[in-house]
Amino acid sequence: MKTALFGKTLNELTALALELGLPKFTGKQMAEWLYQKDIASIEEMTNLSKKARELLSDNYEFGLVDSTKVQESVDGTKKYLFPTAQGKFIETAMIPDDDRKTVCVSSQVGCKMGCLFCMTGKQGFQGQLTAGEIVNQIRNIPERHEITNIVYMGMGEPFDNLQEVLKSLEILTSDWGFAMSPRRITVSTIGIVPGMLTFLQNSEAHLAVSMHTPFDDEREKLMPVQIAYPLSEVIREIKSWDFGRQRRISFEYIVFKGLNDSPRHVRELVQILNGIKCRINLIRFHPIPGTPLEGTDENTLQKFKEQLNDKGILTTIRASRGLDIYAACGLLSTKEIVGKEQS
């Protein structure tokens, strides 16, 4: 199997060109073909010499991967299923909203984190995605020219696949790559502290942290990562970081009925987030098979939001999208894996 060019950084492409005896500038030319033009084969890189294209084709392939399944919600949200090099499947959601089109990408196949409320976790960990497989989810959907925002909130924990995620961010935001503003990209983590710090140093993209409760004893029952990286450590590191004016830190908060939706939780949130210029995104919980958790009712949700806003924490409720296609939960790929294993 040939190595994919798609997903390589400019430095890697330049090194590869020199290794093949090609001029150094071939690396830049390849980057432009890979990330800025609508082609899908090495043969179409027409400003490279015929000899250069033959040399490249002997050793490499362009590397785009087509989706094998698409589901479309009544609200316009689409979920794409992409096969991976390891014979597994990942999900990518495209969420239209007025003049915005947000793409939610996966960073791993499955997940190691085992959160109680997450469908992807039920697959266990199946493997890491390469930078190419991450960026392919943006480059290889029909809406690629209309994408306004990218969120790393699909399958997997981005900071458990840090190097490939950082590479993908470099490709998306560099002049030689997709040249997107990092302010249109948000990476979401459950709080892997070393990865979070490296990300903060090496990228300008926004950060979102999955919190779901401010209390340690509750969080450790929902999210086993709490044992290794307590929320208090995550918050301490965030407080020590200068996010500047443009960079955004937000906290994701799925609201569960009778678990994390009380005034006590509001008070604790206000206390632990004191000093951080941040926002909280409240998320409605949509039950997954076998879960003991329930989503809170609409009235409590609105009240919870108002109480936080009254206390000075900018709080919004995320609109639920693509419910009829389980856009956010990993169900499609889980079914696909099970189907493949049974066939």
Binding site: G110, C111, K112, M113, G114, L116, G121, K122, Q123, G124, F125, E157, D160, P194, G195, L197, T198, Q201, D216, D217, E220, K221, P224, V225, Q226, I227, A228, P230, E237, S240, W241, D242, G290, P292, L293
Partner: protein, 226 residues
């Protein structure tokens, strides 16, 4: 604000220690030790690295809380960066470790401990710290050689120490995975705590199974190796 390597170094508060032992207790599985300089609760973890400018990995402590050394149990990960290097360390060499921390803590109340592979470490620490009186320990492995500390545990815990082996058979060993063993139990206690430690898929499957059998999720505490 400090930047780069310096930032990581100061933030993670690692201390240099001298290795006192590094024993291969089973093929590819090591027990690494250094002198204890802090008190800890059994079940806690430590961050470990052999290079202070590289992010450390987290390991459960695998020794009793009144022993002279702190020990951690690790297996060599084929695609890992740190574990192959840790395996090559010998007594006298230096590593960098954090203070013990974490909330995976048990007490003297009845509980079931469920582990796979090197996930036995926190429970062995609890056992060595004298917290095993009301406990049932279920350990699942692929091969018989992976029942670390089995002589000691079998002698002390007797019938409350259950071994499950997926790929090999032996007397007193349940032939199958931990989940199969649990599925076959009809009267699983639902009013005690369950502690799970191991890889994500085992933890998720066992947690789902316990919940399906009537154990409240609040009674389940899991530590996942990632």
């Amino acid at each position: 604000m400090p930047k780069g390597e310096e930032y990581l170094k100061t933030t993670l508060e690692l201390a240099e220690v001298t290795i006192t032992g590094n024993e291969e207790i089973s093929p590819g599985v090591y027990l690494l030790s250094w002198a204890r300089s802090h008190d800890f609760h059994p079940g806690m973890v430590v961050k470990v690295t052999d290079d202070p400018v590289l992010p450390p990995r987290i390991y459960s402590i695998c020794s009793g809380n009144d022993e002279e050394d702190i020990r951690v149990l690790f297996n060599i990960k084929e695609d890992g960066i740190l574990t192959p290097r840790l395996a090559g360390l010998i007594p006298g060499m230096k590593i960098w470790v954090s203070k013990p921390y974490g909330s995976f803590k048990d007490n003297q109340t009845p509980a079931w401990w469920i582990a796979t592979g090197t996930g036995i470490a926190p429970f062995y620490s609890m056992f060595r710290s004298g917290i095993s009186e009301n406990k049932t320990l279920i350990h699942g492995v692929r091969n018989l050689s992976q029942f670390y500390f089995e002589d000691e545990l079998e002698w002390a815990m007797g019938q409350r120490y259950v071994r499950c082996c997926a790929h090999e058979q032996s007397c007193n060993v349940f032939p199958g995975r931990v989940t199969q063993y649990l599925e076959e139990i009809n009267d699983l206690p639902t009013n005690i705590n369950y502690y799970l430690c191991g890889k994500a898929l085992m933890v998720v499957e066992v947690r789902d199974l316990l919940i399906a059998k009537g154990v409240p999720y609040e009674n389940i505490l899991a530590e996942i190796y990632f």
